[in-house]
Symmetry: C2
Subunit: 129 residues, 2 copies
DNA sequence: CAGGATCCTTTACGATACTG
DNA sequence: CAGTATCGTAAAGGATCCTG
């Protein structure tokens, strides 16, 4: 009965947890979900547009995060032959498969904020907004 | 037409991005999704169980992450009057509302790993597993 | 415009040791 | 058992200047 243990509950658990780790490994850092979300909503954007659009990020971090995500084929970087050069970033088809995650994150964040209002909780460190 | 701009596309975009930021603010750090996933799958667990179950985490980080999540009402901490004392952690009803996110993360991670196998990509820094 | 290089500060994280 | 205290490292983040 347990010669093949690939379907026992323990194994399924471990696999699921491992899958979460995989995802978070690729989307680690403070900004990746934010960047993906912005590109999903706006389509193609240039470096400076992203810098303006993503509140709080600096050029150094943006550059690094974009490189990480390009390496993992989540976004595409295109250099245009203008003067001076412009660079466009867009999400790939593969990157778009992240949108269910993004949608759930946005949904949860929205209802979280609503629940704070209902409970009339005042903003504090305890509830970071 | 734009006296009330709460429904124009720009505002909707900003709200969505902000919601993602809210969620990630609460679930920041390397371990929170991992802990939530583990508690969702196992139910109630003690401190030491979590320490064993969550591969790689140390006592300090686990303690800190659990406190963060308790403050935000995602988990419940119960001290049992045993000798020596034992402490049980479980997810709250509110914390369970995170499960759609966890499910999507697990789904994506699973298909990510499958896509690597299909493409016969060998594991490298480029594709962290 | 799109970034890389450099320097500096702060936060995140981890290992070890210790306490009720 | 369930943590806290202490220490040290690594990564995040910001500011400024520089280049093609």
């Amino acid at each position: 009965m347990h010669t093949n243990n690939s379907h026992d509950p323990g194994t399924i658990c471990k696999a699921k947890i491992h899958a979460i780790k995989d995802t978070m490994g690729i989307l680690s850092g403070k900004w990746k979900f934010h960047i993906i979300g912005t590109l999903l909503l706006h389509g193609t954007l240039r470096f400076m547009d992203l810098l303006r659009e993503i509140d709080g990020i600096g050029a150094k971090m943006l550059s690094k995060e974009l490189q990480d995500m390009e390496v993992n084929s989540l976004i595409k970087r295109t250099v245009k032959n203008t003067k001076p050069i412009t660079v466009e970033y867009e999400i790939t088809e593969y990157g778009k498969t992240l949108s269910p995650i993004i949608e759930e994150l946005a949904k949860w964040g929205t209802s979280y904020r609503e629940s704070l209002h209902k409970k009339q909780i005042h903003i504090a460190k305890k509830f970071p907004l």
